[in-house]
Symmetry: C2
């Protein structure tokens, strides 16, 4: 496979020029590390991803997991990939050394995982979920639970899942019906069905630990009555050895459009006596705990989406550079040589859009990872709080923007390939199918939009938003020093003003006219995302201008000019749509609300 | 299958309220018909489509055609569908009764075919191509060619293809390399390879007639050196019986993302002595002839795209009406009953967008069909010319708008289904995969954009555009009489002004700064399309207002209110984006042109 997974020069840029990852070395937790260690980790990830993940990305799509006699059959490369990932220590890379980990900062782990998801988003899904499940036990489980389950999960003998969704409940977790009944031995018995559980069964680990949301009998209605349980596929004896099979049955596999080598399962809990489950933390606090995992997962989904877009961009660029077709419009002579399609303005525009979406998404997710890191390990308490507030605000954008525009990027990659893009002999159609999941899982676009406008912009008296505005203003002040950025800066300043006004208008009505105000939340999310992405690109352009002033070597000149031009493209072509969105939001457009369901009738 | 194929009430509306299809009965060619005949034809199409096409839409996707021992194996339902379609006379429905046809107007044939493509776009592809191939022979073939090939093609014993694309040439037909050598018997010998040939082989007709573009040895370079040939799979004796196999070999099948039950083939012509081909019409006029078929195909692609979008919309509407999930934002009580998701503003907005795209696309394609009809059978020569000019201008929009926004509609249908939309157990993900082909084949988006701005708006001194502007002004004048349409009318009037100014600015530079002016042709195509679609919707809204004034029965009230609200949605929410597009176009934004290919480097 000659198409690069990501772009090492760009990863380097994001880590050490956009973000000051090196400065983490001064924090107590990372003092034993060095930039060389960080880079060696990334290099290992890159190599393993190419060798053990990219090798079966297409194969796992063509030969998806099958349900045979109640068990999952899947291609053997999946197990090898899992083992290599585990053996290299990535399942516990973020853990303290005392706990057997590598004590690596979040951003390095995130960058390492970006290589794996670029190589094979489906196979890399298992580890993402397992780490999230283990982290939940780590944060909220009892010491006994931690001792029993964490070592095998960190070592890769057990995997983990998040079992939230039920056949009748997806977005509305408040209504889940799976029950938990207290048992005399202190454990619980779980009854119910879960659906769309990724990695809910597979054939490559000894055991699977399901983190299950269920309702203890008699609990209050709604999210305040939901508890979190550890439900292992096989019970685990006190000495860590496997006990009998728990009452969790694989009822079937779902057949996805893409993302196929991640099993999507229907699981039945308690078809016989009830599945044994262990309460995590306090009763009725399950949603709060689970949100830790969901927030992690949302950054992971954003990053995964960014990497699929990146793969498509790399492939389309490669194709556009080498495919001769047609001539420029002013060249009429049929005798003249054909040009490679990268010479056509339309193809270049499609490549630029992909670059804006893919690199911009990855940059955004890395910024989010860096905020997560700061929220945990920044020197001062105020810096930690600030990072937390900002990340909290940005999470809906981090989840949804790369998913939405990543899909658009993958659509454009197909378009550049033309007919070749539509056939399975080339890689881009699978990327598009894989990507289509991302705007759905871990909270749909609509859910993220309600979260942003209905909660995040107003929470903590809007402190998160204020912080973001200051960040953007600071970036603008720096970028204005470069003449080349005058126009883009003007655009962003205007858009920022528009965002502020619109937010004020909406928030003034949120409490009193909730439905009407939230009716266009998805438009607000897109508008907000455009401003955030413009900020992400302006930061990159500012760095590029400064670097170019130093007259770097040829390849770096190209690299920085590319960043600069992409920033111009995004800020001048895509950002200004916020003006129309703002008008629509500010007049509380009720086209959708006013549409009586009967009026759809007639068919 | 409980999801309706289209919406009979809407088809009725388009044919008899938006268009005056009944008035065709006064034209000499249709005097023997009646509205009842038209409706009976549509009824037959609807029933056959449900029974013989919808029945294997999913099966043909799951069990795509296979290449076994040089032959195609495919599911047997395909042959039954073909036979039913042929036996009902649809392959020759548009032909004169003298020629064994039904002498039906274009619009009725188009509406009938809409049912078949809604039911199974892949299986319906074969007949669309066959009819186009036969029409080419009908228009440009010799009497002998017509006598030999037309009867079996019209009866369905032979099918037809259009063989343009080669492995190295898709969009750039000027560069095709397949050769034709004159043979002493007056025929030619064809050598070369064709790729992505839909229906290039199958197992359900006795013979396949390929309409092949090739270059006669010594012909001029470019499109002016391309000729059109009839190349049958089996040679046909003078008495119509089949002769030996021609030297056309199936080299392989391509494996598509969707649209799978239409074979996509690689064909080798002349691996042995050369495939026997018969020149159609004059040498070197092949492209001109083929454009007849391509223009037909472009309307067919638009209509097909509209019907796939329509299917997705119908499915999503059905799902949204019956799926309970969550509560309205102002309803916090967890004890309250969940609402069906159609109650959520965001879901309604997604349904409205789908309705705007699907019904709007179908209306546009029906308008195009009506123009085609008028260009052939309108009473006066000037009316025929006018219709021809307008259709010529609109063809790039008719091909591309439904393809682009149809895909968007299918994407939204998945989003409404949520997780269920992503799995193959539900129909919407296949529709999305099927639809993805439409922005690619029969001229990509980029090609349509260059055709519109580089040719169509300036051809015949811009007469076509002038006609369109008059049509839109007339529509505006009528619509302004309704108070409810004041706002939408204002939007369209403004957008129309913007379109005119932008077109003038661009056209003034087209000859002298061709590359720069055409650099953003795709943006122009989208802008132009928005105005056209706003006109399509305003016409429907105007009719709805008039109908509502007559206080119709309940179901019709709902139907017309739906049309009205969708028009408002489109004109107020989606049309105004032209303002931003116009600014970008008028300043000749060069973001893409200025992007040096080296700047993409670094990976």
């Amino acid at each position: 496979m000659s198409i690069p997974l990501l772009n090492e020069r760009d990863i380097n840029f994001l880590l050490y020029e956009l973000l000051d990852t090196e400065s983490l070395l001064s924090r107590p937790r990372y003092q034993e590390h060095s930039k060389e260690v960080f880079n060696a980790v990334l290099d290992t990830a890159h190599k393993l991803a190419e060798k053990y993940f990219a090798n079966h990305n297409a194969k796992g799509d063509a030969h998806e997991p099958r349900f045979v006699d109640g068990k999952v059959e899947m291609i053997p490369e999946t197990k090898v990939a899992w083992q290599q990932y585990a053996e290299a220590g990535f399942l516990s890379a973020h853990c303290d050394m005392d706990a057997g980990g590598m004590q690596l900062p979040e951003i390095i782990v995130r960058a390492a995982n970006a290589y794996f998801s670029a190589a094979n988003t489906a196979t890399s899904g298992y580890s993402m979920l397992s780490v999230g499940a283990a982290n939940l036990i780590d944060s909220f489980g009892s010491e006994q639970q931690q001792q029993l389950f964490l070592p095998p999960m960190r070592e890769g003998r057990f995997s983990g899942t998040m079992a939230l969704t039920e056949p009748a409940q997806g977005s509305s977790l408040a209504d889940i019906t799976t029950t938990a009944t207290a048992h005399e031995d202190g454990s619980y018995r779980i009854h119910g069905q879960k659906m769309y559980i990724s990695g809910g069964d597979q054939n490559f680990t000894d055991n699977i630990i399901h983190m299950v949301l269920a309702r203890i009998k008699g609990a209050p209605a709604g999210v305040k009555g939901i508890s979190l349980f550890i439900v292992p596929k096989f019970l685990v004896n006190d000495d860590g050895s496997l006990g009998p099979r728990n009452d969790v049955a694989l009822a079937g596999l779902l057949h996805k459009m893409g993302y196929r080598n991640t099993t999507s399962t229907v699981l039945s809990f308690g078809e016989q006596d009830g599945a044994v489950g262990y309460l995590v933390g306090e009763p009725h606090h399950g949603i709060t705990y689970m949100f830790q995992m969901m927030n992690e997962a949302r950054i992971a989904v954003g990053t995964g989406a960014a990497t699929i877009a990146y793969q498509g961009f790399n492939a389309a660029l490669d194709y556009a550079k080498g495919r001769p077709q047609g001539r420029l419009p002013d060249q009429k002579s049929a005798q003249s040589k054909q040009v490679n399609i990268i010479e056509h303005a339309d193809v270049r525009a499609m490549l630029l859009a992909q670059k804006a979406y893919a690199e911009g998404s990855l940059a955004l997710c890395f910024i989010a990872s860096s905020l997560f890191e700061d929220s945990q390990t920044a020197d001062s308490k105020s810096a930690r709080l600030e990072a937390h507030l900002l990340l909290d605000l940005l999470t809906p954008v981090v989840k949804s923007w790369p998913s939405r525009y990543g899909l658009k990027a993958n659509e454009l990659a197909i378009q550049i390939y033309g007919g070749a893009g539509y056939i399975r002999e080339y890689p881009v159609e699978q990327l598009y199918r894989d990507q289509r999941l991302n705007p759905i899982h871990e909270g749909t676009e609509g859910i993220q939009a309600l979260d942003l406008l209905g909660r995040k912009v107003i929470s903590q008296n809007g402190e998160g938003l204020k912080l973001l505005l200051i960040k953007i203003q600071t970036c603008l002040a720096a970028a204005r020093k470069h003449d080349q950025l005058a126009e883009p800066c003007e655009q962003l300043a205007e858009a920022l003003e528009t965002l502020q006004t619109t937010t004020q208008v909406l928030c003034a009505h949120l409490a009193t006219e909730t439905n009407k105000t939230l009716a266009n939340a998805s438009v607000y999310l897109d508008m907000f995302g455009r401003v955030v992405m413009a900020w992400v690109w302006l930061q990159q352009a500012d760095i590029a201008c400064r670097a170019l002033a130093g007259n770097p070597h040829q390849e770096d000149q190209w690299f920085y000019r590319g960043k600069l031009q992409t920033a111009r493209f995004y800020l001048l072509r895509e950002l200004p749509e916020v003006e129309h969105q703002a008008r629509l939001l500010q007049r509380f457009d009720s086209s959708a609300l006013d549409m009586d369901p009967h009026w759809f009738a007639g068919n």
